[in-house]
């Protein structure tokens, strides 16, 4: 029953998603087509208009810019450092800019007025010196900034509405879905109404031709009689009936057993989380070590969900603005909201609200599980229990977390005792008992009740 309901829910959910996607994409395609074109046109036109003193290769500059500058700067946005659009015009002195970019602290130290002003304005955060840059490198970067800077204002001007539209579309994906669903229901109603009309018309017609109908009905009944006769014949075949009944019983019994056996097992549990955090992106694409966020797993029983200050280590400046047309990603914004952090002023407010994640892996209270024992001492990969976490867009429960599952692993897994002095004495004692056999957790008492239940 539980399974049936969840199946049904899954069905509904997938239906909704399909509807939403079809409706949403069609809407977005039609809505975005024109502005995208105009952006490109503006981008192509801009350098010609404002490309006064820039002589570098924006393509080479792009690579350098993305590798070296993006952690502190954005083109149109103040991040850790100032927004860079228009610096060529603002300072209008290439040599001066090259000197500054290559060694900013020296500029500040030399007492350059403008450099000091910026330094003061940005909380005395010194800009990293880049002695490895050649003058041409810097020129290339400046060229790229010029190109991007010229392109962006218009892009945001036009794209502002598009971005806004998309923003509302994004927060309103569900709106789209709801509107879509209402439309579908309305259409369905219309169809039903039309059909009813048709049926009514047909009935009226039929009533007018009563005799004909009677004849037809007789025919139908005769056909039905024939059909029932076939069934009756089959019902008289006792062997067939026996096998059918047997089949049904076996089917029901096995279905029931499986169902009951798996009561309370939530493999595949994939709740909707308050933030659409993607392990696939963080652990998979970006290859961030699990330990960076789940530091508890190595020293505590709790793996710990990272506190938001850990998120902020990166997301203070990683804001995925490139994906959202210069806007901060709405998901990253949720971190800021939770911390009451203002990305503009980089100040924390006093109204933080903790994020309530939905716990996916739930062990009953009666079972004690310690991450550090398994991860640090036994050296088990996270994936062994949590599955291909680095490919999960949304995390789901991969393992059944049943006692049978625990026990099986304890039976099979060999204890990693080499180089751990704790085991020396224990293993030595065991060697006398179990010569040549592999030492599993079970051999060291890993199956005893009190190891997990106390």
């Amino acid at each position: 029953m539980r399974n049936f309901s969840s199946d049904f829910r899954r069905l509904v959910r997938s239906l909704m998603i399909v509807t939403a996607i079809t409706l949403g994409t069609s809407g977005m395609v039609s809505g975005q087509g024109a502005p995208a074109d105009s952006t490109q046109a503006a981008g192509a036109a801009a350098p010609a208009a404002g490309g006064s003193a820039v002589n570098g290769d924006p393509v080479a500059g792009e690579a350098l810019y993305k590798a070296n500058c993006t952690s502190c700067h954005a083109i149109n946005k103040r991040v850790l450092g100032p927004a860079l659009a228009g610096i060529n015009q603002k300072y209008n002195d290439e040599a001066y800019l090259i000197k500054w970019i290559k060694n900013a602290p020296a500029m500040v130290a030399s007492g350059d007025e403008r450099a000091v002003k910026i330094y003061e304005e940005y909380n005395k955060a010194a800009m990293t010196p880049f002695p490895q840059f050649s003058d041409d490198d810097v020129r290339n970067i400046l060229a790229y900034i010029q190109v991007e800077g010229d392109k962006k204002p218009e892009a945001t001007a036009t794209g502002g509405t598009a971005g806004g539209g998309e923003g509302s579309a994004d927060t309103g994906v569900s709106n789209f879905m709801i509107i879509g669903l209402i439309a579908v229901i309305l259409i369905a109603f219309l169809v039903i109404l039309v059909l009813n009309r048709v049926i009514a018309t047909l009935e009226r017609l039929l009533l007018n031709k009563g005799e004909a109908i009677l004849a037809e009905e007789d025919e139908v009944e005769e056909e039905a009689k024939d059909k029932f006769a076939g069934l009756k014949r089959m019902a008289k075949n006792k062997k067939l009936v026996f096998f059918v009944v047997l089949g049904l019983v076996v089917l029901l019994a096995s279905f029931g057993t499986v169902e009951m056996w798996n009561t309370g097992v939530h493999t595949g549990y994939q709740p909707v989380q308050p933030i659409k955090f993607s392990h696939q992106l963080h652990a998979g694409t970006n290859q961030i070590d699990c330990q960076y966020c789940h530091s508890g797993a190595w020293k505590s029983k709790n793996a710990t969900i990272p506190s938001l200050n850990v998120c902020m280590n990166c997301h203070k400046y990683v804001q995925a603005t490139e994906k959202y047309d210069g806007e901060i990603s709405p998901e990253i914004k949720k971190i800021y909201t939770a911390l009451d952090y203002n990305p503009e002023t980089q100040a924390y407010g006093d109204n933080p609200r903790p994020i309530e994640w939905v716990r996916i892996h739930n062990l009953p209270d009666l079972a004690y599980f310690n991450h550090s024992q398994h991860v640090k001492v036994a050296g088990i990969d996270c994936q062994k229990c949590h599955g291909p976490i680095e490919t999960m867009e949304e995390v789901y429960q991969y393992s059944p977390l049943t006692m049978k599952w625990c026990i099986n692993c304890h039976r099979e897994t060999e204890v990693k005792h080499e180089g751990n002095a704790y085991y020396d004495k224990v293993i030595a004692a065991h060697d006398q008992i179990k010569k040549g056999e592999k030492v599993t957790a079970a051999v060291l008492g890993g199956l005893e009740c009190g190891k997990c239940h106390y």
């Binding site: 709790n302 009740c449 106390y454």
Partner: protein, 1006 residues
């Protein structure tokens, strides 16, 4: 096995009363009402079939529906910004102190869950008493106020501040006095705060009033040696100790410290070196100290002074008035004690629990004669644990009555409850304009105050203490204030417009100025270690300059006044003490070390004496002394002196909170001023009321049915043959096993308990309760023998006739005459983790099984509650959960509320109704210790893992460790000649070894 001494837990066992025999037939006193259901109205009712079908139908439907529902969604809320030092799942420890005793506070995710002793504390040296262990629950007390009160209604701190300041200025202007009334303040910073307050308001007086004071000793020392101090006693240096009613192992001055000192001359190491102190106790009521004495002589309350005088006379040979004892037994015992004391001159110590200046003066004379000053008594490094002078408060009450006092502040003090003439005090307080209490709850005194400036719990506070000369401890907060409270010292700083308004800064400044300079340590050092110990001053010898003869006259007069009617002795009980922690259910349910009574105080009478008065056990009697009377149930207390009655203080609170209200009766009004000090002696009349109330006693629960479980020997026998009395002679019987032997290839966790070191104080019980989430069940459930304590301390009485073995029934009858000469053995009893555990073989569902580490595991979620195991356990250590104590409105007062449950240890499951539980040997600590070693890739060192009971034991009577490590403390202890196993003849092969109790009968054998 040679001992045929008869041991008994209570009179019902001695006399084999029918109820006792009946109750002991089964482990559980109340059978399940199966018969009733089958035979009675159950099935014969009109429509049992329909009801049955209805119930079954509903049940099936409900279960089906319940199975359909999704598992509940559980949220995980991480820190917003995680404190650097906190890792969820790993405890943090903070060094702090509780009443001057060094502690380590274990916190999990920012909430304190356990108090552990600080091993570096020179006072308690790694031990902690029951009250300190239980104090963590006070933090989560639901009866506390949530914010300050102004004229009885909730107010903001700003309002309170402006009101108090305004009133203070008015008082200042009127020229009336201001009084800060506190129990002993030995915190240097708090004293400085009060001094600053006095500077701001010069009319302020600081009056110290201790509920149970030691004024007698302080005043006597002033008279005898010119030093008005409470000295430090060194029981570890005393070879002969004579105590006149001083319960120094239970409640007297610094019991944990004294227990440790005392045991150092009686524990394994000392005995192996063939050294053992001799302890003679003269007292009227049976105290914890009395139960541990080698010789205990019951004397009447009125005879105590005469006994001290006759000891003085016997020692010095001087003729002193009143040095005669009518009690012939006591008189000869005094002569013997004098002889032994003389033999041990320089290593002798005489103490008296009396608060009478004259008695203490004579004691001083005796100690000076014995050369105790400079050796066993240190007047140069005094104790500041109690500095109250009784008359000060009397004077203040008189001033209040005269309208000379304009404002009073009550700091850690509840005199409306503890002052004997409470009504007078309330009356006098009516004439005071500003009355401020710093209580954390609306207690008896706070209820008559116009301001209650709710104080922090000590776990939320900054502070310090200077309990003894040269030793300074720090109190640091381990949790943010839970309610809208403010530290009392901070309130005083605010009200006195101190330039430093924050108490933390104040404490730190004070330390930087004083203790840090003197010790050369930094503030961070002290935060880490919790204390500073300065070099002790050399303890000098003192000559007695008092006057014994005037003292003798005064003693004689006072004795005469008491020696009428029935002589009453009021005392502090080990669990409840002065009553300040009366709202702590852990302490209320801690059985008294001697009487094993919980949740009540009672009138303790000698059984023979009570019989002569026609009073039965549990009869309610009226005790009337002066114009105060209380009704209390009677307890037959073997060892109680004839003609005396003992009543515990600290009970009978009316505004302690949900738990402590109306538990017992208040005995403070029986205290009386005699020669300027408040003394716990009085003369009362006893009359039966005709009522009957059964006390919730644990003594006869879990009986060993007369099996021989105690092994004893005298010190002389021990010196002759170390195995004496332990039954470890020659070859043992060949035993046969039905089972294959378990291998313990890794660890083999075992325990050794030294019966000679155990004083029965009960700290281990509370430590176990807090560590293992053991529920509190309340008075009614204890009466039904359903207490849940995993660890109990069995107290056995045996007749003792001064060294003679009393074995035969006839002889028992002969000496039963007075029921005064009993000696006591305390035996901590917990799951023995038997190799051949009888419980394991009878469990139908394999819920309790043996581990490869020598432990008897209990899987709660597997248990179906047949209770076969408990019935088959010869040690009676298994406990059945009759209720879901954590979620049952009947237990609302104890642990059934979300706030109090914050104290739970998250590493231990709370057990559900219908399952068995028992001592797990703190398996969570074993597992944690092993994991720590594994992570550090090292072997487990002996002492890495300490179980909760062992950790708190002040006398190290409990030793736990790995028997597979031949060098571990426990392996060595178990190889001791004294080691025996309880009921080893059953061949259950227990994992807990006991060591014989040795009694030093001293000269009596020579």
């Amino acid at each position: 096995m040679e001992s045929t001494k008869k041991y008994w837990k209570g009179l019902e066992e001695l006399q084999k009363t029918p109820e006792f025999v009946e109750n002991n037939k089964n482990e559980f006193s109340e059978p399940l009402p199966i018969e009733e259901v089958l035979e009675g109205t159950g099935l014969a009712a009109a429509t049992p079939r329909r009801d049955f079908l209805k119930a079954m139908g509903f049940g099936l439907g409900a279960v089906t529906l319940a199975a359909c529902s999704e598992a509940p969604v559980r949220k995980a809320v991480p820190y917003l910004i995680k404190p650097e030092d906190v890792t969820p799942g790993i405890p943090n420890y903070y060094a702090s102190s509780y009443k001057g005793a060094g502690i380590l506070v274990k916190t999990r995710e920012g909430r304190p869950i356990k108090i552990e002793p600080n091993p570096s504390c020179p006072i308690n040296g790694g031990g902690l008493d029951a009250q300190a262990q239980a104090s963590v629950l006070d933090l989560y007390d639901v009866s506390k106020l949530k914010g300050p009160l102004l004229s009885g209604s909730e107010a903001s701190w700003a309002d309170v501040d402006s009101f108090v300041k305004g009133e203070l200025n008015k008082v200042q202007a009127s020229g009336k006095a201001i009084a800060i009334i506190s129990s002993t303040v030995n915190s240097p910073s708090a004293k400085a705060v009060i001094a600053d307050f006095i500077t701001q308001y010069p009319a302020t007086k600081h009056v110290t009033v201790d509920p149970v004071s030691y004024t007698g000793i302080i005043k006597a020392n002033e008279a005898s040696f010119g030093k008005a101090v409470l000295p430090q006693y060194h029981f570890e240096k005393a070879q002969v100790i004579v105590s006149f009613g001083a319960d120094f192992l239970g409640t007297w001055i610094s019991p944990t410290q004294f227990s440790k000192q005392y045991a150092s001359n009686r524990d394994i190491k000392s005995l192996e070196a063939k050294r053992m102190s001799r302890h003679i106790q003269f007292e009227s009521g049976m105290s914890t100290t009395g139960t541990n004495a080698d010789s205990r002589i019951a004397i009447k309350v009125s005879e105590e002074g005469a006994a001290v005088l006759s000891l003085y006379a016997a020692l010095t040979g001087a003729a002193v008035q009143g040095a005669t004892l009518s009690n012939a037994g006591a008189a000869s015992a005094i002569k013997l004690a004098a002889k032994e004391l003389l033999n041990a001159k320089g290593a002798a110590l005489v103490v008296s629990g009396s608060n009478d200046i004259a008695t203490q003066t004579v004691v001083n004379a005796i100690n000076a004669f014995l050369g105790a000053y400079g050796t066993t008594i240190d007047l140069d490094n005094p104790s500041y644990q109690y500095t109250g002078i009784d008359t000060d408060f009397n004077t203040l009450v008189a001033d209040m009555n005269a309208g000379k006092v304009g404002a009073v502040f009550f700091l850690e003090s509840n005199p409306v409850f503890t002052y004997p003439k409470s009504a007078d005090l309330v009356n006098a307080l009516g004439k005071v304009a500003l009355k401020v209490s710093f209580a954390d709850r609306q207690d008896e005194t706070a209820a008559v105050c116009n301001v209650v400036a709710t104080n922090h719990n000590y776990l939320e506070s900054w502070g310090d203490a200077n309990p003894v000369e040269g030793y300074y401890t720090l109190v640091q907060p381990t949790i943010n204030p839970i309610y809208n409270t403010r530290q009392a010292e901070e309130s005083l700083l605010v009200w006195s417009n101190n330039p430093v308004q924050e108490y933390y800064t104040y404490v730190k400044n004070n330390w930087v100025k004083t203790a840090l300079v003197a010790s050369g340590k930094t503030w961070d050092d002290v935060l880490q270690t919790g204390s500073v110990q300065l070099a002790a001053k050399p303890a000098g010898a003192y000559t007695f300059a008092g006057n014994v003869n005037t003292a003798a006259a005064s003693i004689a007069q006072a004795s005469k006044a008491i020696a009428k009617d029935v002589e009453l002795q009021v005392y502090e009980s080990v669990a409840i003490g002065s009553g300040a922690q009366a709202n702590n259910p852990l302490l209320q349910e801690l059985p008294d070390p001697v009487s094993k009574v919980t949740w009540d105080n009672y009138a303790a009478l000698n059984p023979k004496y009570a019989e002569s008065l026609g009073i039965n056990q549990f009869d309610i009697v009226t005790l009337k002394g002066g114009d105060y009377s209380i009704d209390l149930p009677v307890l037959y207390q073997p060892g109680q002196a004839q003609g005396t009655v003992s009543v515990a203080l600290g009970y009978g609170r009316v505004k302690a909170g949900k738990v402590g209200d109306a538990v017992g009766k208040n005995a403070y009004p029986f205290l009386s001023y005699i020669n300027g000090t408040l003394q716990g002696v009085n003369s009362v009349s006893i009359t039966k009321t005709g009522g009957f109330e059964e006390l919730a006693q644990t003594q006869t629960h879990h009986s060993f049915e007369g099996r021989n479980v105690i092994r004893e020997a005298t010190f002389a026998e021990y010196k002759h043959d170390a195995t004496h009395g332990s039954g470890n002679h020659g070859a043992k019987h060949k035993t046969y096993d039905l089972w294959n032997k378990y291998d313990q290839p890794g660890h083999n966790w075992v325990m050794a308990i030294d019966l000679n070191a155990c004083t029965g104080c009960g700290a281990c019980i509370v430590a176990c309760n807090v560590e293992n989430n053991v529920p509190v069940v309340g008075k009614d459930e204890v009466r039904r023998r359903r207490e849940m304590h995993w660890l109990r301390i069995d107290r056995y009485y045996t007749f003792n006739e001064e060294g003679k073995k009393v074995t035969e029934e006839k002889e028992i009858e002969a000496i039963e005459g007075t029921m005064e000469n009993v000696s006591v053995v305390h035996q901590p009893m917990l799951c023995q983790h038997c190799e051949h555990a009888p419980c394991e073989t009878v469990c139908p569902v394999l819920a309790t099984v043996h581990s490869s580490e020598g432990l008897n595991h209990m899987a709660y979620n597997r248990c179906v509650g047949t209770r076969y195991c408990a019935n088959n356990c010869p040690y009676k250590v298994r406990r059945f959960n009759w209720f879901n104590y954590w979620n049952d409105s009947r237990f609302d007062n104890y642990l059934n509320n979300e706030f109090t449950q914050l104290v739970l240890n998250p590493d231990v499951t709370t057990r559900f109704r219908g399952v068995m539980e028992k001592c797990s040997m703190c398996i969570q600590r074993i597992q944690a210790g092993k994991l720590e070693a594994k992570i550090a890739k090292r072997e487990i060192k002996d002492g890495d893992i300490k179980v909760a009971c062992q950790q708190t034991c002040p006398t190290n009577a409990i030793i736990f460790g790995d028997a597979n490590d031949p060098n571990s403390e426990v392996s060595k202890a178990l190889k001791n000649e004294r080691t025996y196993y309880v009921l080893e003849e059953l061949n259950v092969q227990p994992g807990v070894g006991y060591m014989t109790k040795i009694t030093n009968t001293g000269l009596q054998e020579a």
